[in-house]
């Protein structure tokens, strides 16, 4: 027997089992990845299926007679009186003008219900306040349809089910078809969703107040957490004496990163609102609370980035007579910058998606004004989503899904930015 022991049957069998092991491992890995992709795909698909239609809305075009009698007499006209004019009757007349043979009050109500009442009256009010000269003339206005009509036209309400089981009557459907045949109904991009604050009427609800609130929160959290976090990380890694206290601080910062975020909300409620007396529901408090949330993440990311810088760079600077501070800030920190930035952006994405702590500090209010300062009541995007998701109507679930898509798009953009920054700044080394 002169066969090498690597060529024996036993060795061959062993080799075969090694390959089998490798194939099995690859199969497990691949299935895990596929499962993850499939889950994500399913999530996105169902969001798109529900939410995509919310990006368009149906509008009806009417001719409105701006009857002088609906307004205060000319000598008493001011922004105040113009605001409280009888716009409702103007709108009613405008829609009735389209259907002259509708006579009874009940029928008129049904007809009027086709359009968004607040949508139409707000539209007129804004135009009149901007330009009171249109009083007395006839104007063309394009206003949102009511949410029921919008849903019907989008096909989300089945016109074939018995009348009693839908909120829109056969007669209303006939009128709608008539309006459509006359070209008075159009489907347009739903700018309301982006530029309006929240509303009780789904066709008028938008994410603007929440988005502005979120931007304010993220900026405040960034301004507070970034310098403190980066500073703390640099101090801990480079300058703090290596002793028990430092270890203790380090452990607790790591623990902080693992604290459930709702605890930060409780802390914010107890400290910022109850002790310092800040108002509830304001972005300033939200930003401060979420700065606490982002702080440990930024510290951890910064320290990882600092450690990935080759010690040879610091040695090089020290050997040239740089002081410790110079070596750290002229060599180490600049080289860690891509990592620090990436970590910060990721932590800001975390802040943007955070909901629970904001609930604790009362940022769940129904906000119908776009906040202009950091002490105006506001909500945040995820909270807005949470609020809308509580309404079961199709018009709301569609907008909820659309808002989730918008939030996801922003988060993905932030993450893409982080990746891009890392690879770009990394290349320059």
């Amino acid at each position: 027997m002169n066969v090498s022991q690597h060529m024996s049957d036993k060795a061959r069998k062993h080799l075969k089992s090694r390959y089998a092991k490798e194939r099995r491992f690859r199969f497990y890995g691949l299935s895990a990845v596929l499962f993850a992709i499939a889950s994500l795909g399913w999530l996105l698909l169902s969001l798109f299926a529900t939410g995509l239609t919310a990006f368009q809305e149906h509008y009806v075009t009417l001719e409105a007679e701006m009857t002088v009698s609906a307004f205060a007499p000319p000598d008493q006209r001011s922004v105040e009186t113009l605001r409280i004019a009888d716009y409702k009757s103007i709108v009613e007349n405008a829609i009735e003008a389209k259907f002259p043979d509708v006579r009874t009050a009940g029928e008129k109500d049904l007809l009027f219900a086709l359009i968004s009442e607040s949508g139409a009256t707000d539209h007129l009010r804004k135009r009149v306040v901007r330009n009171p000269d249109i009083i007395g003339s006839k104007i063309v206005m394009t206003v949102p349809t009511s949410d029921q009509v919008d849903q019907l036209l989008k096909g989300h309400i089945d016109r074939n089910v018995p009348e009693a089981r839908r909120q829109i009557s056969d007669q209303q459907i006939l009128w709608l078809d008539d309006l459509r045949a006359r070209g008075a109904i159009k489907k347009k991009f739903n700018s309301i969703l982006f530029f309006n604050p929240d509303s009780r009427d789904p066709e008028l609800a938008g994410i603007a107040s929440a988005a502005v609130g979120s931007v304010m929160i993220v900026i405040i959290a960034f301004i507070l957490a970034l310098p403190i976090g980066v500073g703390a990380a640099i101090y801990l890694d480079e300058f703090a004496p290596r002793n028990r206290l430092r270890d203790w601080v380090e452990i607790n910062i790591n623990n902080l990163a693992a604290v459930p975020s709702i605890i930060f909300g409780l802390l914010g409620l107890a400290v910022f609102i109850n002790i310092f007396g800040f108002q509830r529901s304001i972005p300033l408090v939200g930003g401060m609370v979420l700065a606490l949330r982002a702080f440990p993440t930024i510290v951890i990311a910064t320290r990882a980035a600092l450690r990935s810088v080759s010690p040879a760079m610091v040695d090089g600077a020290l050997s040239l007579g740089a002081s410790h501070v110079q070596a750290v800030f002229q060599q180490k920190v600049p080289q860690a910058m891509p990592g620090i930035l990436t970590g910060s952006i990721v932590s800001m994405a975390l802040v943007l998606g955070e909901t629970a702590p904001l609930l604790m500090i009362g940022m769940v209010a129904f906000v119908t004004e776009i906040p202009t300062t950091v002490t105006d009541p506001a909500t945040a995007l995820p909270v807005q989503i949470f609020l809308w998701s509580e309404s079961p109507e199709r018009a709301w679930s569609e907008r909820t899904a659309a808002a989730i898509l918008i939030l996801l798009a922003i988060l993905m953009t932030m993450n893409a930015l982080a990746i891009w920054l890392r690879s770009r700044l990394g290349k320059r080394r």
Binding site: A312, M313, G316, S319, L320, G321, A322, Q335, R428, R429
Partner: protein
């Protein structure tokens, strides 16, 4: 070669925690010329080298005792700032470590932090002079704005030397400067050391017997934290007094 002494070391001990890496070294190092430190891995050559610019202090847990006099002045005097010492005692590391900046900024880094030049023109000429001395000027004069890290290993090592001599040190410490270089780059580096030794006191750690024999005037052989033999290089490589030295240079221990 003058007989002037640059460093007088007496009973130098360095401890890392409980481990004593150097057990009391006494040595005098000449003011001009090249002194080579040789010895098996782990014998304490790098540790000793770092004692000359107090770089050991940047390593947590390293403790120094004994005395090193530089031109008669105790470099471990608490009143002496290591930052100033390191401006006078430059260092070149085993792996070339240019900063991820332009070639120009690499060389200008030292002069800038020490405020050695007043005007841009002065700095420009200092950078050029340093690069010329390091034998790199001709190769990089048209690409001073390129990244120092984009140069070849041998060029990087010469860049690092240019960076060190830009602040006009009196001493250059080199820890295995050629170990990451190919033979041609090594030959250039050795030629450079040959040139620099007329102006600077150079201490070089090397694992190459041939290199030590070629470039150095004096050679010190270390073994397990002790200085075994220190003499003219020629003497060490032809007729050492100590059997251990003999064994090491002939390759019987390593």
């Amino acid at each position: 070669m003058t007989d002037k002494i640059k460093f007088k070391c007496r009973n130098v001990r360095v401890q890392y925690g409980d481990l004593e890496a150097l057990h009391g070294i006494d040595i005098d190092i000449a003011d001009r010329g090249v002194t080579a430190f040789i010895g098996p891995s782990g014998c304490g050559k790098s540790t000793f080298l770092r004692a000359f610019n107090r770089m050991n202090e940047t390593i947590g847990g390293a403790k120094f005792s004994g005395q090193i006099l530089m031109d008669g002045e105790d470099i471990y005097d608490p009143s002496l700032d290591p930052v100033l010492l390191r401006a006078r005692v430059g260092m070149v590391f085993q792996k070339p470590n240019p900063f991820p900046k332009s070639i120009y900024d690499n060389v200008a880094y030292g002069p800038r932090i020490h405020g050695l030049t007043e005007t841009q023109a002065e700095l420009d000429s200092l950078v050029e002079k340093s690069l010329r001395r390091a034998g790199l000027w001709e190769e990089v004069k048209d690409r001073l704005t390129e990244q120092g890290t984009d140069l070849s290993g041998g060029q990087q090592q010469r860049l690092v030397i240019a960076r060190a001599i830009a602040i006009s040190p009196e001493v250059i410490l080199m820890d295995e400067p050629a170990s990451a270089l190919d033979p041609i780059a090594t030959a250039r580096l050795e030629a450079l050391i040959e040139e620099l030794k007329t102006r600077y006191c150079i201490i070089i750690v090397t694992h190459s017997m041939a290199q030590a024999a070629r470039v150095s005037d004096k050679t010190a052989f270390f073994y397990e934290g002790d200085l075994i033999e220190y003499d003219d290089t020629e003497k060490i490589f032809t007729n050492p007094d100590n059997q251990r030295t003999q064994d090491y240079i002939t390759g019987r221990t390593g």
